[in-house]
């Protein structure tokens, strides 16, 4: 098994593991990922936020790599040494990428349904600057409907290509894709075609930003006012394992369950997502795990008992 060292922590990983996956195995200093999605073939490499510095190529060929590499698409070699947060060059480049991602982003978080669970928001919070140096008009698109359940806010899109990969890999009839070129590329169906497929709703779950949102949930609440609960049902199409998002007694939306990297644990079908919004449809398992740092966890049940400071507050 190849041995790789990331930010001075060494780990043995199976051959073919990427640097990013190796970092996830270590669990610390994991490079962020906006376009990479472990469950989608061919994803990654595009957003460039996961760039890292390879200071030693391998035991066999110890030369450093000349440029920063996308950790999500670079396989580890035995003896490889990688710098992520310990490299000022990486931090600088990442800051640059975040700035580029925000250049044309509308920053309309106050009216965006994704706010509170948006990866771009997290990323900007961590790496972004308080002020933009971009002084020009942002590119704008009209909002579009992709079918009757999904809203496309192209202005917010960062062109991660995940949704087209979902459409390509989970569904048999691909009707949407990336149109145009360069700065004005857009996700679109070209001639307003509905995506009529039982798994199309997963495009919402894989979208790292608020470009694709669930129309049945649109403007109903802020995510941090809702309570996520794990539940399941017997479904013939998917695993039926979901997260229900409650406000009071009402199920406002249904999504797949997310793992600690924000990826769906299993893709769910549209019936579970859109048509089963009564508690009686589900067997409730219990509160969903929400990262303590997430805004969603505020006022909620998963008590941060390990922190003495907060404990004090609670008393």
């Amino acid at each position: 098994m190849p041995k790789v060292t990331i930010d001075d922590i060494t780990i043995d990983v199976p051959a073919g593991t990427t640097i990013l996956e190796a970092a996830r195995m270590i669990g610390e200093n994991v490079p962020p990922a906006m376009c990479y999605y472990s469950k989608l073939k061919g994803s990654g490499g595009k957003c460039r936020v996961c760039l890292v510095k390879v200071t030693k190529g391998s035991e066999k060929d110890p030369r450093p790599m000349p440029k920063l590499v996308a950790s999500c698409r670079t396989a580890v070699m035995d003896g490889m040494e990688v710098k992520n947060v310990t490299s000022p060059e990486v931090i600088e480049a990442r800051k640059g990428v975040v700035e580029f991602l925000l250049v044309n982003h509308p920053l309309d978080c106050p009216v965006c349904d994704q706010a509170g669970e948006c990866h771009l928001q997290d990323l900007s919070y961590e790496h972004g600057a308080a002020k933009s140096r971009y002084e020009f008009k942002r590119r704008t698109f009209e909002t579009r409907d992709i079918g009757d359940k999904i809203k496309l806010h192209m202005n917010r899109c960062i062109l991660c290509y995940r949704c087209t990969q979902v459409a390509d890999q989970l569904t048999d009839q691909r009707v949407h894709g990336v149109l145009g070129r360069g700065e004005v590329s857009e996700i679109s169906t070209y001639i307003e075609t509905a995506i009529d497929n039982e798994f199309s709703g997963n495009m919402i779950d894989v979208c790292p930003v608020g470009a694709l949102t669930d129309k049945t949930f649109r403007f109903k609440s802020r995510v941090w006012f809702t309570k996520p609960v794990y539940a399941h049902r017997n479904c013939t199409k998917c695993t039926g394992k979901v997260t229900l998002w409650y406000q009071g007694e009402e199920v406002l939306r249904v999504t797949s369950r997310k793992d600690q990297w924000g990826e769906s644990e299993a893709f769910i079908c549209n019936e579970c997502r859109y048509d089963k919004k009564a508690t009686s449809d589900w067997k409730i398992e219990g509160p969903a795990h929400v990262d303590r740092h997430s805004v969603i966890s505020q006022n909620h049940y998963e008590l941060p008992f390990e922190l003495p400071v907060t404990q004090k507050k609670l008393q």
């Binding site: 009839q173 691909r174 009707v175 949407h176 894709g177 990336v178 149109l179 145009g180 070129r181 679109s188 169906t189 070209y190 001639i191």
Partner: protein, 173 residues
């Protein structure tokens, strides 16, 4: 184009399509997409309508979106109607050193349109494009498959007039 045209290749175009398709392995028909779109654009009025693209998708057994993705990526495909004569003036560095910008504004004035527009009689569309590989023979423009190089205002007058007469003749016949 005002009259509704039936979207179907002429027998000659069809022959050309099958010749092109034969260049690629049988299960790689999609590879023929770019050359077939060129033929489609020539056949159906110089641009690619949604119907045309759907037709090409059917011919090559691919999803329509795969055609849209490609047609909107490459700058030579027009996804909006253009005039009968499409003038594409190179506006990149070396051409500009030799007066390409003056040629553009001359044509704008002459035809009374701006870049990207079509004349009222639907005869000319003016477009600026990036480097066409004629830097040593600047300034230049491309109309159809022909490169017109070492342009001067007089030359532009002559070329456009000749092409216009040709088109009118073709229409009247």
């Amino acid at each position: 184009m005002t009259e509704v045209q039936k979207i179907e290749f002429s027998p000659e175009a069809m022959l050309e399509v099958s010749r092109i398709v034969s260049h690629y392995p049988q299960d790689k028909m999609k590879s023929a997409l770019l050359p077939v779109l060129h033929i489609a654009q020539n056949e159906f009025g110089g641009w690619l309508s949604a119907e045309t693209m759907d037709y090409v998708a059917r011919l090559l057994h691919i999803h329509p979106i795969e055609v849209y993705e490609v047609a909107t990526f490459y700058s030579m495909y027009n996804t909006k109607p253009v005039g009968k004569i499409l003038i594409e003036v190179c506006q990149t560095g070396p051409c500009c050193l030799n007066g390409a910008e003056k040629i553009v504004s001359y044509i704008e004035k002459k035809l009374n349109i701006k870049v990207g527009e079509t004349t009222k009689d639907n005869m000319f569309t003016l477009k600026t494009v990036e480097c066409l590989g004629a830097c040593g023979y600047a300034p230049m423009f491309q109309i159809g498959e022909t490169f017109y190089e070492h342009l001067t205002e007089e030359k532009v007058d002559m070329i456009l007039e000749n092409l216009k007469q040709e088109k009118l003749k073709a229409i009247n016949n």
